[in-house]
Amino acid sequence: MIQQIVWENDFEQAQTRAAAEDKLILIDFYDPT
């Protein structure tokens, strides 16, 4: 199965997961236009 990126869209949720999983947070600021 081809792996796809699991994107969060809430910063606090990302912080909670990063702490629990001992991971860094990657933020991709993007402009859809």
Binding site: L24, I25, F29, D31
Partner: protein
């Protein structure tokens, strides 16, 4: 990024393994607090943070998959080095030098691989050996210049 870089399985796998990934649409009103907190001005804008929101690394601009991937690994290694997880950092820098020797960030990885190897072993010969490898592989790089003070005393 969405069409070319992120669908690449090696990129997606590395992001999922090492990061909690968060996309922020800078045009949405809800994004204003985080856009202002991180002084965000131009996209694409990639930031690497810890769980407390402390920023370790950033870059702007599109990168194709096999430049993005080593850049992402170097960002992770820099974060680990600054967290004093020097052995973990050394492993990632060395991985970049071995797997992506022609990438744009390879000279930077080689420079810091020597630093992290030295910080792990406490043996200055590891620093000198690593920087010698950097000079031999990337003689015209900016990172060769950044260690050139040791060339004057050799």
């Amino acid at each position: 990024m969405e069409r070319v870089t992120y669908p690449e399985p090696a990129v997606a796998g590395t992001i999922n393994n090492s990061y909690v990934a968060l996309q922020i649409n800078t045009k949405e009103a809800d994004a204003k607090p985080i856009v202002e907190r991180y002084r965000q001005v131009w996209t694409p804008d990639l930031r690497m943070l810890d769980a407390d929101g402390f920023e370790y690394y950033r870059w702007n601009g599109y990168l194709p998959p096999f430049e993005f991937l080593p850049q992402l690994l170097v960002a992770e290694a820099h974060a680990r080095l600054r967290q004093k997880k020097v052995q973990a950092a050394a492993e990632v820098y060395n991985d970049v030098v071995e797997r992506f020797p022609t990438s744009r960030v390879a000279p930077e990885a080689a420079y810091y691989a020597a630093v992290a190897n030295y910080r792990t072993s406490k043996d200055s010969a590891d620093l000198m050996k690593g920087w010698e490898k950097l000079r031999n592989r990337y003689p015209a790089s900016d990172w060769r210049l950044k260690q050139s003070m040791v060339e004057d005393v050799e």
